[in-house]
Amino acid sequence: MGVIFPNKKPRSAEAVADSPGAPSPAQPAHEPPAPAERADREAYALRLIEFIRAESSGGRLTSLSTLASRFPTPEELSKELGFSIASVIAEGPDASDLKKMEGSSDAWYFSESTITGSYALHLLRTEEKDPLMLIAETVRDESRIYPRPTDLTFFTDPPFSMNERELSQALERMELRPDMSDIKRCAASNGATYLYSTKYLGETLAETLAEWIEVGQKQNP
C-alpha cells in the first residue's frame, strides 16, 4: 500500500484512530459487519480492506475515523503493542491496490483499482472543507499539469459541487490571502471566468487558452 499526496501537515493516522475524539464517521454506505468472531489480525484486516474497496467502487474515500467507528477493534488485537488500524491495513493481505492520503485531521483510504489518485485528491480536498485551499491547489494543478486555466464551473460541478454563493465568497476571501496571490482571474469573450496560477501560466497565455476553450474550440469542431 502506498501513501500519496500529503498536502498538509497531518496528524498521525494512528493518533486519529486511537483518539476518542475522532471525527464522526461519514454517512454509512453499508451495514457494519457483526463483531468479529475471529479476532485474528488477518480477518480483521480483510474486513477493513473490503470495506475500503466497496466504498471506492462507489466513488468514495474512506476515512480512518470511519473505520475506527464502524469496525471496533477486537479486544485481543487492541492489546497488541503498537497496534493501529493503519498498521493492520498496511500489513494486511493483498492490499497493494489501497492508497492512503493524509488530510489535515484524518487519514483517507481508497482503492487504486477503482479510483485514480487524481480523483482521490479531488475528493480529499472536498472532504477537507477548506474551499480556498481546494480552489487554489486545484487551479495550480491544472495550470501545471495540462497546462490550462480552470473554468469556475469546474467547482460547481461534481465532485466539488460548490454552490454559487460558496464559490463567490471563497474567491473574495482568496484575494486577501497572500499565500494565494498567484491565483488570478481571466475572462473569455463570452464572459466565462477562468482562474490560473501565475506560477505556471502567464497572463497572455492564460487569456488565449481560456478564449480557445470557451469560444475557439466551439468554432472549430
Binding site: 489518485g117 487524481s118 464551473t153 461534481p158 502567464g202 487558452l209 472549430n220
Partner: protein, 706 residues
C-alpha cells in the same frame, strides 16, 4: 477468383449511353481503395480542364477494403470528383458516414464510377448484380428526405440511399450528397445534379470475405476496442470521474453519472464509462449536449452513427416544436451538421416565435439543420455563415443586389435572432433565386463576382485559409505549423483529423509530447497549445504523417474522425495507442501482408497522385506559390487586449510567421521526396513509387520541376 477485403468489382455506369458494366478492382490495388483508387481513375480518365458539371467529369463513390469487414469505424463512403466551388475545379473528395458504403460492398462493389449525363432525371438502382437506371422525373424537385422515402418505396426500407436535394439539382456549388438521416458529403451534390442523377439506392444479399481466421480477426478487434476512445479519439472524460486520471471540459467523452438520453423511453443514463467496459463504449459520446448545449439532453432519443462504428456521434433528437413549422420532429446530426447552419444565423439565435431560453437555440438550430439537409445545401465548413455576415456588414449586398431584392430579404429576422430566417435563406440558395443565392457559389466565386477585394481575404474573422476559398479546419490553432501546413495542401477545407485525433486527445501536454517523440522522433514535433516554437523537422514528419494517414483512411475506408489511434484511454498502456492498427487490419482482411510503413508509402503515393493532378489542373509546377500559400491573417501577429502586437512565438500567440512557414513547406516537401523549390513531385520520386506514367504526362505538359 476469390477476393478478400475487396469485392473485386467496380461498377461502371455511363448515364449518356445507359451502359452498365463492371471492372476489376484489383488492377488498382496499389492505390488501396476508396480515395486512392478514385484518384487513379480520375487521373487516367478525366482530363485536366474538364468542368465539374460537364458530362466528361466523373463522380466516384468509393468503399475501401476494410469497409464491410467489421473493422471498427469503417462505414465511410469516399466521393471523389472535381469540386465546383474550387477556383480551378480542383480534384477533391467529400465523405459521408452511414450505411451506404457497407451496403455497396455487400452488394458486390468496391466503387461506383459514374460518367456522362442522363437525358432526363434518373436514379440508380443497385440490387446485387441487378443494376438499373430508373426514371426519376417524378423525384426531381423533391427534397432529400422525400427522395429517400421514394427510393425506399421501391427497394424496401433496408435499402441505403445517397441522394441530392434541390440544391444539387440546381447545380449549386455548395451542395451535398446525403445518406441516412444525417450523413452528408459536402461539395459534390451539383456534380450529381449535372448528370441528372437524383439518387443511388443499394440493397444487397452478399457479404465481404476476410482472409484471416475468425479468431485472429476477433483478437485484433478486441485489442483495438481497448484502445479506442470517444469521438475524435478523445481519451479523457469531460468531467472528473473516479476511473479517470485526467479530465477536460472540452472532451467529447461526455458520458457521466446523471446524464441521460432524456427523450428515450425510458430515459437511458450514459453513466461513467470506464474504458475497460466494452459494453458502454457507445455511451461515451453524448454529442447532443456537446453540439447543442445542456438543454439538448431532454430532446435526445439516442445517439446514432455509422455501420461498424462503436462510437455513436450523431445525436438523434425529438423536438416536438418543429412540427409547428411543418418539419419532422425527429432530427439528427453531428458537428458541423449543426454548427454550419447555426453559423448562418450569424448574430445568434435568440428568443423567437414563442421559443425561449436554451430551447430557442436548439429549436432554431434544428430548423436550419433540417432545411439544409433536405435542400442539400453545404456550408463549406461553416464558411457560408461568415460570408453572409461579411457581405451584410460590408454592405456588399446593398451594392450587388437590386433594391427590390435587397428589400425582400428579412434582414430583421437575421439581426434579431429569429430562426425562421432559415426558411427564406435556404429557399433562395437551393433554388438559385436572385443574386443573393450566389452566396452559395463558394468564397472564391463570390469574391470574383462581387469584387470583394483584399479586405475580404485578409479578414481574420472570415477565417479563409487560402485563396482556394476554403476556411480553417484544424489549422494554426491545432499544433502550430502542423495544422497550418496540413491545411495548405488541400483543394478544399482540409478535413484532416489525423493530427487532431492526437493533439485533441485532451491528455496533458507533457504526456502528448512523450508520445509524439516516440512517433515522430522528438517531443519537439508537438507544441503546447499557444506556446509555439519555430518549425522543425519533427513537425514536418507530423505533417506528412497526417496527410498520408488521411489519404489512407479515405482509401481503406476508415473514419478519419476516429483514426489513427496514437493514444488510448488506458493508464496501464501509459495512454499509448497503436499506429500500426490500420496495417494489421488490412493484412488480416485482404491476406496481403502489409507493414505500417509499406501501407503509409502506398498512401503517400496516392496523395502524390492528387498533387500531380492538381499541378495539371493549375497548369503550373510552382505549387508552393500558386497553391500552398495562406491568406495574410494567419501570418500576421495577434493583438493583445491593449491593442499591442503579440509577436509570433511568444506564449499566447497562435499566429504563424511567413518565413517560418516557407521553411515548413520546404521541410514537408523534403519529407515527401518532392522538389523543395516548387513542392512538385520529381521524376525520380514518381518513378521510385511506380508512377512513371504520371511523370511522363507531367513532362509532356512541361510540368515537371527542374
Amino acid at each position: 477468383m476469390e477476393t478478400f477485403g475487396y469485392t473485386g468489382k467496380i461498377l461502371r455506369v455511363n448515364l449518356s449511353t445507359g451502359s452498365v458494366y463492371t471492372d476489376d478492382t484489383l488492377k488498382y490495388k496499389e492505390f488501396i481503395g476508396g480515395e486512392g483508387m478514385s484518384m487513379k481513375i480520375m487521373w487516367d480518365e478525366v482530363p485536366a480542364g474538364t468542368h465539374p458539371f460537364a458530362p466528361e467529369n466523373k463522380i466516384i463513390f468509393g468503399a475501401g477494403p476494410l469497409c464491410g469487414t467489421g473493422a471498427p469505424c469503417s462505414g465511410r463512403t469516399n466521393i471523389t470528383s472535381l469540386l465546383p466551388s474550387s477556383p480551378f475545379h480542383g480534384i477533391a473528395s467529400s465523405h459521408m458516414g452511414g450505411y451506404f458504403a457497407t451496403e455497396l460492398k455487400y452488394a458486390g462493389y468496391d466503387l461506383i464510377v459514374i460518367e456522362g449525363k442522363a437525358a432526363s432525371p434518373v436514379w440508380l438502382r443497385i440490387e446485387d448484380e441487378k443494376v438499373r437506371i430508373e426514371d426519376a422525373r417524378w423525384m426531381w424537385g423533391k427534397g432529400i428526405f422525400d427522395t429517400q422515402a421514394m427510393v425506399a418505396s421501391f427497394m424496401g426500407k433496408e435499402a441505403q440511399v445517397a441522394a441530392i436535394g434541390q440544391a444539387g439539382e440546381n447545380l449549386v456549388n455548395l451542395s451535398v450528397i446525403r445518406t441516412g438521416t444525417s450523413h452528408s458529403a459536402g461539395g459534390h451534390g451539383g456534380v450529381m445534379g449535372s448528370k441528372n442523377l437524383k439518387a443511388i439506392g443499394v440493397r444487397r444479399t452478399g457479404s465481404v470475405k476476410i482472409a484471416a481466421s475468425g479468431k485472429d480477426w476477433l483478437e485484433l478487434d478486441s485489442y483495438m476496442m481497448s484502445i479506442i476512445g470517444a469521438n475524435n479519439q478523445m481519451v479523457v472524460p469531460s468531467t472528473p470521474q473516479p476511473w479517470a486520471e485526467y479530465s477536460d471540459k472540452g472532451s467529447r467523452w461526455t458520458g457521466r453519472k446523471g446524464l441521460f438520453w432524456g427523450a428515450a423511453n425510458p430515459p437511458v443514463e450514459t453513466g461513467e464509462c470506464d474504458p475497460h467496459d466494452m459494453q458502454s463504449v457507445g455511451l461515451r459520446t453524448m454529442k447532443a449536449i456537446f453540439d447543442l448545449g445542456a438543454g439538448a439532453e431532454k430532446y435526445t432519443v439516442r445517439m446514432g452513427g455509422c455501420s461498424h462504428c462503436p462510437i455513436r456521434c450523431h445525436s438523434q433528437l425529438k423536438i416536438p416544436q418543429l412540427e409547428k413549422y411543418g418539419l419532422d420532429p425527429y432530427v439528427a446530426n453531428t458537428c458541423v451538421g449543426w454548427s454550419g447552419p447555426r453559423g448562418v444565423m450569424c448574430y445568434g439565435i435568440k428568443d423567437f416565435d414563442g421559443n425561449t431560453g436554451p430551447d430557442a437555440g436548439i429549436v432554431g438550430n434544428a430548423i436550419g439543420t433540417t432545411l439544409a439537409d433536405d435542400y442539400g445545401v453545404w456550408c463549406n465548413y461553416a464558411q457560408i455563415g461568415r460570408d453572409l455576415k461579411y457581405c451584410y456588414e460590408k454592405a456588399v449586398f446593398k451594392r450587388v443586389l437590386g433594391a427590390e431584392e435587397y428589400a425582400s430579404i428579412p434582414w430583421n429576422k437575421l439581426l434579431n435572432g429569429d430562426a425562421t430566417f432559415y426558411f427564406d435563406f435556404y429557399e433562395r440558395v437551393a433554388f438559385k433565386k436572385g443574386e443573393f443565392s450566389h452566396i452559395a457559389d463558394g468564397s472564391y466565386w463570390i469574391a470574383q463576382r462581387w469584387n470583394l477585394g483584399e479586405d475580404y481575404w485578409n479578414d481574420k474573422n472570415g477565417k479563409l485559409w487560402t485563396r482556394g476559398g476554403y476556411p480553417v479546419h484544424h489549422s494554426n490553432e491545432a499544433g502550430a505549423q502542423v495544422g497550418a501546413l496540413i491545411s495548405c495542401f488541400s483543394n478544399r477545407d482540409s478535413q484532416n483529423h489525423s493530427h487532431m485525433n492526437f493533439i485533441g486527445s485532451k491528455l496533458p501536454v507533457a504526456l502528448q509530447k512523450e508520445i509524439a517523440g516516440e512517433i515522430f522522433g522528438s517531443p519537439e514535433a508537438l507544441d503546447a497549445p499557444a506556446v509555439y516554437t519555430k518549425m522543425n523537422v519533427y513537425k514536418a514528419r507530423f505533417v506528412k504523417y497526417s496527410l498520408v494517414r488521411s489519404m489512407l483512411h479515405n482509401s481503406l475506408t476508415l473514419c478519419n474522425w476516429m483514426w489513427p489511434m496514437a493514444v488510448s484511454p488506458l493508464k496501464e498502456r501509459k495512454y499509448r495507442g497503436d499506429t500500426s492498427l490500420e496495417s494489421k487490419f488490412y493484412s488480416l482482411a485482404t491476406g496481403m501482408r502489409m507493414s505500417e510503413k509499406e501501407l503509409d508509402e502506398m498512401a503517400a503515393k496516392c496523395f502524390t497522385l492528387q498533387r500531380a493532378y492538381t499541378i495539371m489542373q493549375m497548369n503550373t509546377v510552382d505549387l508552393r506559390n500558386a497553391h500552398d500559400q495562406t491568406t495574410e491573417w494567419p501570418i500576421t501577429p495577434d493583438h493583445a487586449k491593449d491593442g499591442t502586437d503579440i509577436p509570433q512565438f511568444t506564449p499566447g500567440s497562435i499566429q504563424m510567421e511567413r518565413s517560418d512557414m516557407e521553411l515548413g513547406r520546404t521541410m514537408v516537401y523534403r519529407e515527401f521526396g518532392w522538389d523543395e523549390t516548387t513542392g512538385a513531385p520529381t521524376r525520380s520520386y514518381l518513378e521510385s513509387v511506380g508512377l512513371k506514367d504520371v511523370a511522363d504526362r507531367l513532362a509532356a505538359a512541361g510540368l515537371l520541376p527542374g
